[in-house]
């Protein structure tokens, strides 16, 4: 196992972390040393390499989806205006989310701010998409028509990315709940920030930081909020007024306006899923990395603990792939939407 690159990465990190801890103990200024330790964690070269590889693999998956660029050059002015509105709100959400993530990442020197940055980013994007859909405006005429076809959320979701995000969210939730039950208080009395195991010989092994309640509580709360916001945004996308019918006087679900409207809904749904992917992938990577590192530090870990440790190690590269996939989907759709706006200005 020690020959595995990932295992090597974790051991490298462990050594660096141990050196930091020693420096921390010997340092006259504990706060400064603690800060140094966190900088070490964030700029760990193997971690950055892993992130790059994951982002690269994820990009390949995302680029394959970029071919279906929404074409809103249809006959409906309402549709083009809605496309512009969706684009503006999505971009505002991306910028607002990034600003929010930067601000919250500086909140807690013990890493909770960094952990909550991605879920907050996702939440802001989801709220923005929701606003873009619910503020849709149609120029109504006295005679209006509507198709009796039922629009369903699943018709607009990107199947594979959605499946990946659901699996990642489930894994994150289970990991956090499990870590909360297994965690114990650390040396300063912070609940669930340490893992303590008493060996058969009576020696107590402690390791941390552990993703227990100290981290899991706010993360679960924000993830839950994000899931609720994603559901609301998806229903808003599906229930937005269908433009075009009242102008043409005919109801044909294969006409260009309807097809373009469906493409626009698909893009919004993809933004929702991709933002959720970013919101989940980063904390999942963080939780599993720190959890696995803490478990490596326990010498007399029971078999079940080792199984969890290997499971978490396996999740780390998968979470980076999901991160790359989701991030590139967001970026790709953003670029495509802006390009579309330049090509077809509203008349």
């Amino acid at each position: 196992m020690t020959q595995s690159p990932l295992w090597g990465f974790l051991l490298l990190y462990r050594r660096a972390d141990t050196r930091c801890k020693k420096r921390l103990k010997s340092s006259p200024n504990r706060a400064a040393a603690q800060k140094d330790r966190h900088i070490d964690v964030r700029t760990s070269p193997p971690l950055l390499l892993l992130l790059l590889v994951g982002a690269g693999l994820g990009s390949i998956l995302a680029v394959r989806r970029m071919r279906s660029v929404v074409s809103t050059n249809g006959p409906s002015v309402d549709l083009r205006q809605q496309a512009g509105r969706s684009t503006r709100w999505s971009l505002a959400g991306l910028v607002g989310g990034l600003v929010g993530a930067l601000i919250i990442s500086r909140w807690d020197p013990l890493g909770r701010g960094v952990l909550l940055a991605a879920p907050l980013f996702g939440l802001v994007v989801l709220v923005s998409v929701c606003l873009g859909e619910t503020t849709a405006r149609i120029s109504w005429t006295s005679h209006r028509q509507a198709s009796l076809l039922t629009r369903r959320v699943r018709e607009y979701l990107p199947t594979r990315l959605t499946t990946a995000v659901i699996i990642a969210t489930t894994t994150l939730t289970i990991s956090l709940i499990g870590a909360t039950f297994a965690g114990s208080t650390d040396d300063l009395g912070r609940a669930g920030r340490s893992l303590t195991v008493t060996c058969l010989n009576g020696v107590t092994n402690g390791s941390g930081p552990w993703p227990g309640w100290f981290y899991a509580g706010p993360l679960l709360a924000l993830t839950g909020l994000g899931a609720a916001a994603a559901a609301v945004a998806l229903f808003a996308i599906v229930r937005r007024s269908r433009p075009g019918y009242h102008h043409s006087g005919q109801v044909d679900d294969a006409d260009p306006t309807t097809t373009a409207d469906d493409d626009l809904r698909r893009r919004s749904a993809r933004t929702v899923v991709a933002a959720s992917g970013v919101a989940v992938a980063i904390p999942l990577g963080g939780v599993t990395t720190f959890g696995a590192i803490a478990l490596i530090g326990i010498e007399c870990l029971p078999l079940a603990g080792r199984v969890v440790q290997y499971g978490w190690i396996a999740v780390i590269p998968l979470s980076t792939i999901l991160l790359g996939w989701s991030a590139m989907t967001l970026v790709g759709d953003g670029i495509a939407a802006v390009a579309e706006r330049w090509r077809t200005p509203i008349q």
Partner: protein, 127 residues
């Protein structure tokens, strides 16, 4: 109705028509069921979707659905949406619906200034 390509059953609302919008929706759904365009167990769109697409308040469409359910044309299940009933209502109810539609047609034709002979001629041409 599930998603499919091509022309789909549709309903329209005319806001200048003196008939209330909920009644317009109700009558058209009945006409679609009676003509076979909507079959047993076909799903109707959710209230909010249809209301948004027609630019109506959700309560207006909800009232249409409620009255259709009371007359036995559709059935609503929690979580299952609103679907066309397994069998159409009794012949008497169908006859009443037809009389209702005919009455509306005649009323609107007279509103346009058409006399009885002209109405009958146009009706025969449509048949």
């Amino acid at each position: 109705m599930s998603k499919q390509q091509g022309a789909a059953p549709a309903i329209g609302v005319d806001t200048t028509d003196p008939t209330p919008p909920y009644e317009q929706v109700r009558r058209q759904v009945i006409a679609l069921i009676a003509s076979g365009h909507l079959g047993p167990d076909d799903r109707l769109p959710p209230v909010r979707q249809l209301a948004n697409d027609l630019g109506l308040a959700a309560g207006t469409v909800a009232r249409s659905y409620r009255e259709l359910e009371q007359d036995g044309w559709v059935r609503t299940k929690r979580g299952g949406g609103t679907r066309v009933g397994p069998s159409p209502p009794s012949a008497a109810v169908q006859s009443a619906a037809l009389a209702d539609l005919t009455s509306t047609f005649v009323q609107r034709a007279r509103f346009l200034g058409a006399d009885d002979a002209s109405i009958v001629t146009h009706l025969q041409q449509a048949l």
